[in-house]
Amino acid sequence: MATASPTISQTEEKSFLRDNWILLSVLGVTLILILYFYNQNAIVTTAVLAAALRQSTPLVLGAMCGILCERSGIVNIGIEGTMLLSAFVGFITSFLLQDALGPGAIWVGVVIGVLSGGLMGLLLAWMSVTLRMDQIIGGTVINILAVGLTGYFYQQGLTAGDKLRAIPLGPLADIPLIGRVFFDNPPLTYLTLLLIVLVHLLIYYTRWGLRTRAVGEHPRAADTVGVNVYKIRYVNVILGSCLAGLAGAYLTLEAVGSFERLMTNGRGFIALAVMLFGKRTPFGAWGAALLFGFATALNTQLQFADINIPHQFVGLLPFVLTILVVAGLVGRTRDPKALGTAYSKE
């Protein structure tokens, strides 16, 4: 049983190779394929991989929101709404402040966008932890609220002035292939790569992470040894929603530079698939997000090359793989035991 024992991370690590041999062999094959195609056509390969990373950024942020929430036992299907609302709030903030602050307004927009995500998280936590509401309904409330609020307050023709531009990391950006893909990106993309590592460390190598997983598995046991279940859940949901907020701010302030109604276009729901595919681990989610991003980029590239496979089929590929993973055909996925159930002390 996964009780609060200090060896939990060690045993998970030992079984990593055995549990993930399929994943590792897929990684190996992918690397060989990338090198092969790079040898064939360096420019196209680099362009596709750069696009894949870009498309994966909001997905992996959304998925990490899901990971933090679900690891503590809360289902969050409001990621889509949180992203949309933060995208709007971040954009409007930067629009309103651009005269007063100039280029700095974008960064204020990012911060406010992230905080507005956190606020949505607070709402979800209040509904699902304090009120013990059905968590699916709580998430749906957030999704509907976000569509309504952003649609009501949105005005045509607002412009942000600018967006966050790419910052090449000196000589690193000149490395072939890797340079363009990883070291020639706008700031929030770098931040996302850093956050993947940070969330991994948080979940597996800190006391907080251990308690979070304990609360997700067996809140009564955690409560018995003195862990504050409510606090753990509140903080994780709020932190996670901040990440979804960052994904929203990324969309308006770094990727596009303006806001449009419903512009998240289901990315928050795809993030849930990404989270499941990645077995609720940050690096797994990153791999899954890259796969989803790659499918989109490949789709574009096939059309660029006038190869007439119906593009819907290529777009379908990652979803089929997700179903295979969730159905347990590729490796084993296990939900946290207390997922979706409210905890009551009595």
Partner: protein, 342 residues
């Protein structure tokens, strides 16, 4: 319970009475559309606002021109939901409007239905292709392939790298396909060896025109492969592509439908021109014909063309401008074909 029912009924009746009186007063204050002397033109938008800086606004400006030039009495209804098309058209039908303009491909069915039911009212359907001509319904449509052809020729002449791209909405909408086919034919007419990379959004109608991040990311993918002129044709998705190109030195972008210099100011650093559908003069022309009694039925082709070069006027050489005007003449008299057939 009975009391509650009774008081509710009284209130409802009172409200109906008030609304009915209010309506009566309003139509007395304005001219009566059913009379011969008063010429009334109503416009029903597609889902969206009248000041959307795009389709709805362009059509409304045509109607406003009819007010100024023909002394028409005008009004509009903004559609909030796709299920309200027919109800909104009926708002004008009930007031005996002379001409009703409906804006957008999506209103085609409702417009045809209303036209069949009201043979005395003239209907103008912007972007609505008419398969079978009906006497009181004219579809204002455009040869998008010709606008695309001009844009493609311009792109091919501006490109140094020999690679140009198009980021498009969805192939489920015929005008988008026409823009693409025209664009490619135009580019190939200038440079038969040009490398054309173009792509449609993979999603359905619900997302294909409202996904600016996909447009931006796809434009970046095209620029990474050397594309130095990018045509963004797909509503907000295309706008995402334009804004992305604006952030990259030495690349041009071409907008679509209206002069996007005005509608997407973020794209001004790259926006050399736009492949335009001239909706405003098309609507005004049809309204004028309706008043004069020479209203055409079936399909009426509006004009297309390239928008002004604005601040890029110096960078577009006289040679390019001459070639473009030759092509425009050729497309007009039929000596140049875009090769696109719907």
């Amino acid at each position: 319970m009975k009391k509650l029912f009774f008081s509710t009924a009284v209130m409802v009746l009172a409200m109906i009475f008030i609304v009915a009186c209010g309506g009566g007063e309003e139509s007395a204050a304005e001219g009566d559309c059913s009379s011969e002397e008063v010429f009334c033109v109503g416009l029903v938008t597609d889902v969206g606002q009248i000041d959307d800086k795009s389709f709805n606004q362009s059509a409304w400006e045509g109607v406003q021109a009819a007010e100024a030039e023909l002394g028409a009495q005008i009004d509009f209804v903004e559609t909030k939901d796709a299920t309200d098309y027919l109800a909104n058209i009926d708002l004008f039908v009930e007031q005996n409007y002379d001409v009703i303009v409906t804006v957008g491909f999506a209103l085609g069915e409702a417009t045809a239905e209303a036209a069949a039911a009201n043979p005395d009212i003239k209907f103008i359907g912007v972007d609505q292709f008419q398969v079978e001509p009906v006497g009181n319904l004219a579809g204002l449509i455009f040869n998008e392939d010709k606008a695309g052809y001009l844009a493609g020729a311009l792109a091919a002449m501006l490109s140094d790298s020999g690679t140009i791209a198009a980021v498009l909405g969805t192939d489920l909408v015929p005008p988008v396909v026409a823009f693409k086919e025209g664009y490619e034919a135009g580019a190939l007419s200038i440079n038969p060896d040009i490398n054309l990379i173009s792509t449609y959004h993979p999603g359905g109608l619900d997302v294909a025109f409202t996904d600016p991040e996909w447009g931006a990311s796809t434009a970046a993918q095209a620029m990474d492969q050397g594309a130095d002129v990018i045509f963004g044709a797909g509503g907000i998705t295309g706008n995402g592509a334009l804004i992305e190109v604006a952030g990259s030195e030495g690349t041009f972008c071409i907008g679509v439908d209206t002069d996007q210099w005005e509608t997407v100011p973020e794209a001004q650093p790259c926006l050399v021109s736009s492949a335009m559908k001239l909706i405003t003069p098309g609507v005004l022309g049809l309204v004028t014909q309706a008043q004069e009694g020479s209203f055409p039925s079936g399909n009426f082709f509006g004009e297309v063309g390239l928008a002004d070069f604005h601040e890029f006027d110096d960078q577009v050489s006289q040679d390019i401008k001459d070639t473009l005007s030759d092509i425009e003449t050729g497309l007009g008299d039929g000596s140049i074909s875009t090769g696109y057939s719907p």
